[in-house]
Amino acid sequence: MRIAASWITELTGVLAPGRDMAERLIAAGLEVEGVVVVGEGLMGDLVVGHVEDIEELREFKKPIRYCLVDVGAEHGGIRGIICGAQNFVIGDLVVVALPGTVLPGGFEISARETYGKLSNGMICSEREMGLGEDHDGILVLPKATAEAGTDAKPIVGIGDQILEIAVTPDRGYALSARGIAREVAIAYSVPFSDPIDRTPVLPAPTQTRKPAACASDDLESCDLFTLSTVVNFDPHAFTPQWMKNRLRECGMRSVSLAVDITNYVMLELGQPLHAFDLDKLQGMVRAGHPREGEIFETLDHVERTLSESDLVILDDRGTIGLAGVMGGLDAEISDSSTNIALEAAHFDATAIARSSRKYKLSSEASRRFERGVDRTIAPYAAARALELMLECGGGEYVGMNAVEAPMQVTVITISDQLPSRIAGMEIPAQQVVDLLTAVGCRVIHEDGQLEVAVPSWRPDITDQADLVEEVVRLIGYSNLPSTLPVAPAGRGLTHAQKLRRRVGTALAHAGLSEVLSYPFVGPLDLTALRIPAHDSRRDMPTLANPLSDEQPWLRSSILFTLIPAARRNIGRGHVTTPIFEAGSVFHGAVSTESIPVMTAEHRPTQAQWEALERALPNQPFHIGAVLSGDAQQAGWWGPARSFDWSDSVQLARTITQACGLELVVSRASDPMFHPGRCAQLQVTDSDGKMHMIGVAGELHPALIDSFGLSARSCAMEIDLSTVIAAAPLVRSAPIFSTQPVAKEDLALVVDINVDAVSVERALREGAGDLLESIRLFDVYSGPQIGEGKKSLAFALRFRSPDHTLSADETTKARESALARAVIQCGAALRA
């Protein structure tokens, strides 16, 4: 809501700069986003000019007028001015900027030769004066409202200070001058005289005809409906300039006198009004429901298919308005309408919000009804509009019809100590009573209890807490003391939370940079990522309203969005891109029926809550990494070393080690990865149970190609939730001997397809308890070994817990290890 400070001053008598009003309103809870001055930057004179004569100059590309304008004797009388606009006639009053005047934006007016004439000033449009954006022509003042030569600035509102207020959903009353004025009066501690306390001046209804009839078919959704009738109204009457100014200052355009008045009264009182052309109506006007499937064209020229549950305004022929949102094209008043039916009604906030959302239509009216309009004000607002219509446009008042459901006043009982208890500061009971009275409540104070009747314009006040807020905000949040509460002794981060932090830090120390990518993916991404049609990773939740139709799904794998992030980095010239991301992934879709419908009136039952939890997709916490480019950069020390598959496996090991778990690697296949260079990753929990945790390896060359990654780029992804669940809470101390070590090397030849890890396992099992450690230190394949074979060289360390090993013991253990490898892996001792 935009409103001029001068209007507030008129309603309250508070004469203060706009900035000062803004500060006090902010402290009271109205969000004033700014204060602007109308026509800021304008220097010099603007005067009213009377157009005496117009000479049309036709020899130019566009029509040009040479006008003789009387700007008053004190400004030099009649002067010639060139003007390109066509929207005025001889005898009109216009606004003239005299030579020497500087318009907003720094444009200085001077007397100059143009189009073969001397132009001695400028006839101004709204935009040129900084009033608004209207540039359809020059501003024409209503006829005979001012003398030529009068200062035009106050007439058009230059210098007015406009407060821009963002009204929160709970403060519908602040969408009116009346509501804001009340807040200003409280803020400046002056008594407030409500504009509705003044009775509009209306003549007695004429008896010449019957006023249009009205009804409400749905008294729940429309509990008050009034329809007033005016005939013989002058459709060509001018809107007074002061009203035009206020409309413009509030951000609304002047349309015609009748429409301007309905808008003005809405701004003044907060009650939306709608004017119909009486001659286009047939029969009774009702609030009610349309036929299912009825086609209805709104004012914005959009045809809408209605359903029976919509709240509309109808006459005997059908729908003539979407109640509280927008009128229809058919019954709209035009610039020739002389007989008018004026609707002023109260609609249920939820019904209007639903309509507005359903038809994606937000209007000044719907914004007010959604937030709640004063339940009682419709008849008054209608009378106020009629008063203005008759005053400015003439005509006869025929009468008003109305229907109304019984009204209920909200009464809330609170302890007079409650505001003190919630605020944490002493607030005397009398002050509570005074403040609630100031916002319009009627308060009965008895035995420490307050019985508070809420005013009709505050439908947002429904609970005790709402009353507390009213009291505390008016005292001022700046007066609240600042005290730290004492929480019970805490337990710090959980084990899982600590491990998540530790893993991220470990990868950062391993040289990777964390990035955060959007978790949105689509079919094209999955094709480039080589995910086959029936892969379980395609089972993802789908967004009903994605940002881009090309990415409607939520990732089931970090790599789906991290690989594109790697591409972006490489595209920006970072050939080497070691990056990682830790975050949620989403497994499985959400079925439309699976989530139970629950009330917020009480705690859900255990069964409801469990059903809700079950219905949500599994959302484990994953960590993924992409390694593209050089693991070690080139330098004076030598050439670069590129990342290879082993770096990605080692990264996985870094993660499991950070969680106190040994990584178990085996061969795997995954379409995203190189068929021969993909590892399946597992860990063993303390119960000895193996858990699949992820994959690592070299990315498939086709994928690397699609994403423009460096050759042989690698990646890894781990389900950190599973790793953390398997991680030991307490780590066991090692038991080691200080007896001398005995070292034995074993070079074994095995088939090329036998994995080192299985040979190592066999050696370990065969070597028995004396084996302290085993490490593969060389892998060789070549002519000396033979086709299809490879040599694996292991270093074995033996140690006894209690004595120096004899040569015999060591040899025996070594032979036993070898024997097992021979049996299990077909190994042979290398010659």
């Binding site: 500061m425 120390h509 040289g511 980095n569």
Partner: protein, 369 residues
Amino acid sequence: MSAPNKEFDPKQVSDLSEDSVNRMVAAALTAIGAAGDLSELKEVRLAHFGDRSPLALANREIGALPPAAKAEVGKRVGHAKAQIKDSLTSREEELELLRDQQALLQEVVDITVPTDREWTGGRHPLTTLMDAMADVFIAMGYSVAEGPELEAEWVNFDALNVPADHPARTMQDTFYVTSSDSGAVLRTQTSPIQIRAMLERDPPIYVVAPGRVYRTDELDATHTPVFHQIEGLAVDRGLTMAHLKGTLDHLAEQMFGAGIVTRLRPSYFPFTEPSAEVDLQCFVCRGSSIGNPDASCRTCGSEGWIEWGGCGMVNPRVLRAVGIDPHAYTGFAFGMGIERTLMFRNGVTDMRDMVEGDLRFTRAFGVEA
């Protein structure tokens, strides 16, 4: 070599006089002192201490001396040998030390060359900032609460007193999953974690909940559809707005320096009543830029305050929705945007830098924001 002088045949070959021996010693010591390195010293040793050295030759003659002279001369020569040997040993030590020193000097490198074989990595500053803010609360005894990003609409809206037709529930803001009536959304705020925390535990509850949230905004310099918030919730007997203010002031001081406070402005959130906006005192100018065009402040736009988040007393309706008796317990809650905090705290000027995954951005922060 001469035969034993059994016949006392005085055939003098070397001069074994005191003078002569002294001369030999003097010559030897001079030569030792002049030896510049170990190989020169080796030659000196050979010349003055070797088998063919004058002293050695002289020594041989001792046998030819009359027995009466043997003892004296023997003693003289022995003393001379010891003198030379000591000198050789100490010179050798000197020269070895010199050699070792010179060897190290040969190994001089340019110590200023680059040493960055390995890459340095970093954690995303949004992550570390969330951790840092959470740590402030952990130190006060709070726990870190969690919840899913794909959340039930009941938890994200209904339980938080956002009624069915509230503008925040329209399609403009919320990502709906499957369909607009499936009951599942991408959480639009971290507040649903409050609901879970209150359903999972009994009061007193003191939790903080950092996390990722979603709104259907297009990415630009100040908006992103995926962003982060941190949420705090306390439910206990007798909690007041003064406690809320005290908690926010403590957070401000921990994150922005001693003496920095917050300011509350009345506002509206469905899940709190009373509700307030939280402003942070500008930690750069501390308000000195207000009305002072000569010392304007970019951080706060010379307003003295920076909009930081929202807060309020937990709406009793929310307590009711999770089965906590609003007559016995009160609560406060607050939330702030992490991206926004990072922007003004660390001087990030464009939201896109945080979300596009450019590793230069992360690397610059290391493992702390």
